[in-house]
Amino acid sequence: MTAITDRQKLQYIAAQAADARVNVELEAEGMTLNIGPQHPATHGTLRIVARLDGEQVIAAEPIPGYMHRGYEKLTEVRTYAQVTALVNRIDWLGSFANEVPFILAAEQLMGVEAPPRAQWIRTLLFEMARISNLILFLGDMAVQLGAVTPAFFAFRDREYVLDQIERVTGGRFHPNFDRIGGLKDDLPQGWLADTKATMDKVRAFCDEIENLLMGAEIFQARTRGVGVIPPDVAQQYGLSGANARASGIDWDLRRDQPNGMVYPELDWKVWTHPDGDSFARFWVRLQETREAANIVEQCCDGVPGGPIMAKVPRIIKVPAGEAYVSTENPLGEMGYYVVSKGDLTPFRVKIRSASFNNVSIAPWILRGVYVPDIITILASLYFILGDIDR
C-alpha cells in the first residue's frame, strides 16, 4: 500500500470543499431572474422579476412604468379634439377602440347623441379594430411557443384589415376618426363591399390558425392546464375581456352596457370557456375574432342612411360634470372617467385600461409555474404595454 502524498491530501480537501460549495448553492434560497424590460413576450417594456427555486418560480412581480407617458396629465392641457389624437396611442393595436369610450363620455356630458349612421359605422370600426388587434394575438401567441409561421400569416392577414381602416380613416394605426357627436368623415364608395370581402379573408385566417396551431400536440401540451385562473380569482383581480370569459365568467360589456353602440340590434354571441387555462384564453379570442367578423358583416348590411354628425358647436366646451363610460375593448374593459369644469379642456381624466388589471394577476398566477411557462402565460394574458403604462 502506497502512502498518501501531501498532494493527494490537498486534492481531496479541495474536492470536498468544492462539493460543499455546490451543496450550499443548491440549498440556497434561489436565484432572481430578471425578465425584461425588453423581451419579445412583453409587447413593449414590462419587467418581471422572478425568484426561482430551480426551474420553479417562488415569487414573481411585474414592474410596469418603463413606458409611462403621462396621458392622464396630458389630457388636462389638451382640447377634446386633441385628446382623441392622444388616446389613439394607448392600445396601439386596436386604436379606434380607445377613442370610443372617451367620446361617449364627452357626449354624455354634453347631452349629444350621435346620429344612427354614425353609431353603426362606429360599431363597425370598433369591431375592425378588435379584429386587427386579435389577429396579431393569434399569431403572436404562437411565436412565444416557438412557432414562427402563424406570425407571418397574422401579419399578412392583418394588413387587409388595416388597409380597409386606412381607406376610411386615413391612418393604419392611429385613425383619429371619432368626433364628439359623430364621425369625421363618411365612408368612401365601395368600401362596404370590400370590407365584406376582407371579412371572408379574416374567417379563412381563423380556420387556418385553427388547423395550424390548435390541433398541434406541442401547442396543447404547452397550454392545456397551464396558468389556470379560477373564476373567483379572476373576479378578485378585476380581470376583464377575454381573460375573464376564458375563466367561465359570462360578462361582456358589449351586451351588458351597450351605451351608444348598436350591439343590441345585431345577432351575435358571447363566447366563454370553462377551463381558464392558456388554451381557453386562446380559444376564446379565436372565437371572438370570428364573431367580430360576423358583427362587421351585419353592420355592413345594416348601415342606415343619414347624417354622420350631430349638431355640435365648432368650439367644443363640455359643460361641468363628470361621467364614466366603459366599453368592451379588444383587451378588456376600458373606461374613461371624465371630469369637466366647463373649459376647453377636461379638468381630470382617469383612464381605466384593461391591461393594467389583467397583468396585475401575474404574481398570483406565476407562483409555482416553470420558467418556460412564464412566457406562455404572459402571452396568453395578452397585454399591451401602452395600455398598462398609458
Partner: protein, 182 residues
C-alpha cells in the same frame, strides 16, 4: 380540473400544421406551374423597385394652397405639438372691381411645418376654414438631416400637386363631397 374530452385526430396536428405551411409556401413561390415566381405569388412588394400606393385618404404629408391662406393662425393654435410656424403682415391688394378701394389682406411671409414634430393627427387640416391645407398620400420625403424635415411654404405648395380628388361617398351618405380647389 378535469379536462374536456378531446378526440384524437387521424393526422397528428403537428403534421397538419406543417402541411398548411408547405401549401402556403408552394402557393407563394410556385403560383402557377413548376417555375418559381416568388414575386408573383407574394403579397409584399419589392419596395424601391415597386411601390404600393397608400389609400387616397392616407395622411402622408400636409400640402398648402398658399392663395387660400389668410394667416389666421387657427392651425398653429390647434396643433397639439405646435409644429406649425406662421408669420404674416398686413398689406394692400388691388381692388376686385375697377375703381374700388384697395383691399386689406394678410400676406403670408412664412408657413413652415416641422414634420419631425408632426404627429399626423390632421387637426390643422380639419380646422382650416379657408381650405388652404390638404392631406396628400405621398410619403417619400425622408431626409438625412432632421432640420431638412422643416418644409417651408414653397415645399408645402409643391405637395399640393399630389393631392388626390376627394372620393365619392358610400350610398346613404348626406355629406357633400368637397372639391379640391385647383
Amino acid at each position: 380540473m378535469p379536462k374536456p374530452p378531446f378526440p384524437k385526430p387521424k393526422v397528428p396536428g403537428v403534421l397538419k400544421g406543417m402541411g398548411i405551411t408547405l401549401r402556403t409556401a408552394k402557393e407563394t413561390v410556385f403560383p402557377n406551374g413548376p417555375i418559381p415566381q416568388p414575386s408573383k405569388g407574394a403579397v409584399t412588394v419589392q419596395y424601391p423597385h415597386d411601390a404600393d400606393l397608400p389609400a387616397d385618404r392616407a395622411r402622408g404629408v400636409i400640402s398648402l394652397k398658399e392663395d387660400n391662406c389668410t394667416a389666421c393662425m387657427l392651425c398653429a393654435r390647434e396643433c397639439p405639438d405646435w409644429c406649425i410656424y406662421i408669420e404674416g403682415h398686413k398689406t394692400l391688394a388691388p381692388p376686385r372691381r375697377e375703381g374700388g378701394k384697395p383691399r386689406k389682406v394678410n400676406a403670408l411671409d412664412r408657413f413652415d411645418i416641422d414634420f419631425s414634430l408632426c404627429m399626423y393627427c390632421g387637426i390643422c387640416v380639419e380646422v382650416c376654414p379657408f381650405e388652404a391645407l390638404f392631406w396628400s398620400p405621398e410619403y417619400e420625403y425622408s431626409e438625412l438631416k432632421i432640420a431638412d424635415l422643416l418644409h417651408d411654404k414653397s415645399r408645402l405648395g409643391q405637395w399640393f400637386e399630389t393631392v388626390p380628388d376627394f372620393e365619392p361617398l358610400e350610398s346613404g351618405s348626406e355629406v357633400k363631397v368637397k372639391k379640391v380647389p385647383r
